[in-house]
């Protein structure tokens, strides 16, 4: 397995998303989603984060993976699209740091 890379992003959706990302070989290994958003039930955030592990690090794949989550839970301040963009920004920031 290639070396793990790490990235962080601060992304302004309707609320602020702060993403910490670990990835390798173009795949999400671990992600933490913080911010001042609302999500009901709150504890569902853990399932959302865990569900992203193993997902291809591509906006479309992330959106597709999380679409069901946003249908089943009530989120205010972010959605599948903004989450995907925040995660991709974390990757971009990681690569910019390495250069």
């Amino acid at each position: 397995m290639n070396e793990m890379s790490y990235g962080k992003s601060v992304y302004k959706a309707d609320k602020l998303l702060k993403v910490s990302l670990a990835f390798s070989e173009g795949v999400i290994r671990k992600v933490q989603i913080c911010g001042d958003f609302f999500l009901y039930p709150e504890e569902s955030i853990t399932g959302l984060e865990e569900s992203l592990a193993g997902t291809a690090l591509q906006a479309g794949a992330i959106e597709e993976k999380t679409a069901g989550f946003f249908e089943q839970n009530t989120a205010y301040g972010f959605d599948a699209k903004s989450l995907a963009e925040a995660i991709m920004l974390a990757r971009q920031n990681s690569e910019a740091q390495q250069q």
Partner: protein, 241 residues
């Protein structure tokens, strides 16, 4: 007439305040909503459930200033609790639609503030504004069929002190952020007691219920103290994210 159980629990530390909110929520009875009014001594910074304590709060600065830090069970942003009246409204009967439930509870606060001559309005999802500036931030959770909405009614705002306790992306940004918040947030310039009375009236009229003054039960107090110790003072909770 319907009744609202009224708890005026005075000033307490952050861990106890959050512990008592949770204890009252767990003890909530059908048909008897609870309005709790309280303050914070020492002052405190609370963060939203989804925020990172390390990212948002200068914990060392808080410690040196004698300011408590705590994670809430509710989402939303970091709040510096100092010159404010805080309310909690806890009920088993509430609109399932999240925006509608915020609007209902914030409407009670707005009605109370009008009694003080403060004209304000609800801005979805969770703010109350007056004269174009935020005077109240609110947050809610729903657990086991119970709604808890708590919110701050800002009496005075010390933005400089607030930012001395919060992390900023960079020192270069600090002045800009302080100026921005000073533009957007203000206090109502009233004192705690008169605001408390007005808010009580606002809840009574909006919910069409009489207020039944009460004290937290021995069980609620014991649970609040236990939660304060084991959860809201614990790094495992406060530094969860």
């Amino acid at each position: 007439m319907n009744q609202i159980r009224l708890l005026q629990t005075g000033y307490n530390g952050a861990a106890f305040n959050m512990g008592l909110d949770e204890a009252v929520m767990q003890a909530a009875k059908p048909g008897l909503p609870v309005l709790r009014l309280y303050g914070w001594k020492p002052p405190a910074v609370s963060i939203g459930y989804f925020q990172s304590m390390r990212d948002e709060v200068d914990v060392d600065a808080c410690g040196k200033s004698g300011v408590d830090v705590v994670r809430r069970v509710t989402g939303g942003g970091a709040v510096f609790h100092d010159a404010e009246l805080t309310y909690s409204f806890i009920t088993r009967e509430y609109p399932q639609n999240v925006k509608e439930s915020y609007e209902l509870v914030c409407g009670a606060v707005i009605a109370g503030l009008a009694e003080l001559g403060v004209q304000s309005s609800f801005v979805p999802l969770n703010d109350i504004v007056s004269g174009g500036k935020k005077i109240s931030g609110n947050a809610q959770t729903r657990k086991n069929g119970v709604l808890l909405q708590h919110g701050t009614i800002l009496l005075e705002v010390d933005v400089d002190r607030m930012f001395s306790l919060l992390k900023v992306p960079s020192e270069k940004m600090r002045d800009k952020l302080v100026a921005n918040v000073k533009e957007r947030v203000t206090g109502i310039h009233k004192v705690f007691e008169e605001t408390s009375v007005a808010v009580q009236h606002g809840f009574s009229s909006t919910m069409q219920a009489s207020l039944a003054p009460d004290e937290p039960s021995a069980e609620e107090l014991a649970m609040a103290e236990s939660l304060a110790k084991t959860k809201y003072s614990a790094d495992s909770w406060n530094f969860l994210r």
